[in-house]
């Protein structure tokens, strides 16, 4: 690159890009895995399994299965973790509607910086680092999900060493990114797809009304061999037409961003306390949780393992009651009130694996 070209590129970045707090993707460096660091036998259902904010999307019951894990990175400067997909069962008969994507669903409130006007978007750039066990084509896709769904894709041939891949999405008109807490955009990495999604011509030119056949044309399949692996990290979406260096955030900052969508309180030993409980009858009480951040929406609540009330007895049921800001109220049933009524402490019942989970994912 000539000096003049370099200066022109720098000027473009300064004029059109956001300097600081530029990365729209959450957990792009794959640091946070509140649910689990590794889950095997995936592929039968869509869901969030390991790394926060990254959902595995499947469709039409592929026979392919995989392990998803937070892997350790030792050969890419600046990164210590990656999202790793490892094929464990092949799928050699791909039905038309089959899908496997690594996806992040993005909240409209976090996308307003992409707007050029209420009905148009600026140019923006998606970038990530990846490596594979062998050369394999995957598709990177931006897919908007409000109004008329629009999409654009890029075909990337991933090599066996870490490399950075990117796609610039040109400025577009007739786009809709509502300023609310619902999903407005997805970024997808297509690892596997049937003819419904691969049978056309990849749409690489501009955001256009979504045609399924043009979303992932030309990709290979991660399910072609049990030798197949893919690792990604350093995922970034930023305003402007240049992929600038990845924005590293601290572990604490990234965790707080993730906790808008998932909070998991996990035991690290037996009989650990989780919340104060007001025992309003012998068989019911109310636990109040002071959450680390405001969640995106009222969360789905679940428990795993055994719980009891200190001063009472075993907790047998629970249900979501309300949320006011970051305060969440959960009703508990069981042998709630004991010698210390009307107050107690919710704690695990000699179960070091017990956990409480609040989910407000997209």
């Amino acid at each position: 690159m000539t000096k003049a070209a370099e200066l022109a590129k720098m000027g473009e970045v300064i004029t059109n890009s956001q300097i600081g707090r530029k990365n729209i993707v959450i957990n792009g460096a794959m640091q946070i895995s509140q649910r689990s660091a590794s889950v095997t036998g995936l592929g039968a259902a869509t869901g969030y399994f390991t790394l926060d904010r990254w959902v595995m999307v499947e469709n039409d019951a592929s026979a392919g299965r995989f392990t998803m894990s937070q892997s350790a990175v030792t050969d890419l400067a600046g990164f210590s973790n990656a999202l790793k997909i490892d094929c464990t069962t092949v799928d050699t008969s791909i039905a038309a509607g089959e899908v496997l994507t690594i996806t992040q669903r993005i909240e409209g409130l976090n996308l307003q910086q992409l707007k050029a006007s209420s009905t148009s978007t600026k140019a923006f750039t998606v970038s990530y680092y990846a490596k594979s066990n062998a050369s394999r084509a995957i598709a990177l896709e931006i897919h908007t999900t409000e109004g008329t769904n629009k999409q654009i894709s890029a075909l990337h041939t991933i090599g066996t060493s870490w490399a950075r891949y990117s796609m610039t999405v040109p400025a577009a008109s007739s786009t809709e990114l509502d300023n609310d807490n619902t999903e407005a955009m997805q970024v997808n990495l297509w690892l596997h797809g049937g003819s419904t999604f691969t049978g056309g011509t990849l749409n690489t030119g501009a955001l256009a009304a979504s045609t399924n056949a043009n979303r992932a044309a030309g990709i290979g399949s991660i399910f072609a061999s049990t030798d197949n692996t893919l690792e990604i990290t350093g995922f970034q979406i930023e305003v402007g037409s240049q992929a600038t260096p990845f924005e590293h955030r601290s572990f604490g900052e990234e965790l707080a961003l993730c906790q808008r969508y998932l909070v998991k309180f996990t035991s690290t030993g037996v009989y650990q306390d989780f919340a104060l409980v007001s025992c309003y009858s012998t068989n019911a009480g109310r636990a109040i949780f002071d959450m680390p951040t405001d969640m995106r929406a009222n969360p789905t609540f679940s428990t795993s393992g055994a719980f009891q009330i200190l001063g009472g007895g075993t907790v047998t049921g629970s249900s979501f009651i309300s949320r006011h800001g970051n305060v969440i109220s959960i009703n508990l049933t069981g042998s709630i009130s004991g010698t210390n009524a009307p107050c107690g402490i919710l704690r695990n019942n000699n179960d070091a694996d017990a956990s409480l989970t609040f989910v407000a994912e997209l």
């Binding site: 869901g47 807490n181 969360p299 789905t300 679940s302 009703n331």
Partner: protein
């Protein structure tokens, strides 16, 4: 998403429904009545398919 055994919960000592306890993909969860919650959205689709949420006790 496979939903089974859905039942409303009320705010204690009131008749106001506040959440739905159900089994989703084999996991027992309590889903708030919130249109922005994606599990609640899935339950609404499940109801639209002809399924029923049991009333609270």
């Amino acid at each position: 998403m496979n939903i089974t055994q859905a039942k409303y919960n009320t705010i204690p000592n009131t008749d106001t429904n506040c959440s739905i306890n159900c089994t989703i993909d084999g996991n027992k969860v309590s889903v708030p009545i919130d249109p922005a919650n994606t599990d609640f959205q899935a339950i609404q689709e499940w109801v639209a398919e002809g399924n029923t949420i049991d009333e609270a006790d």
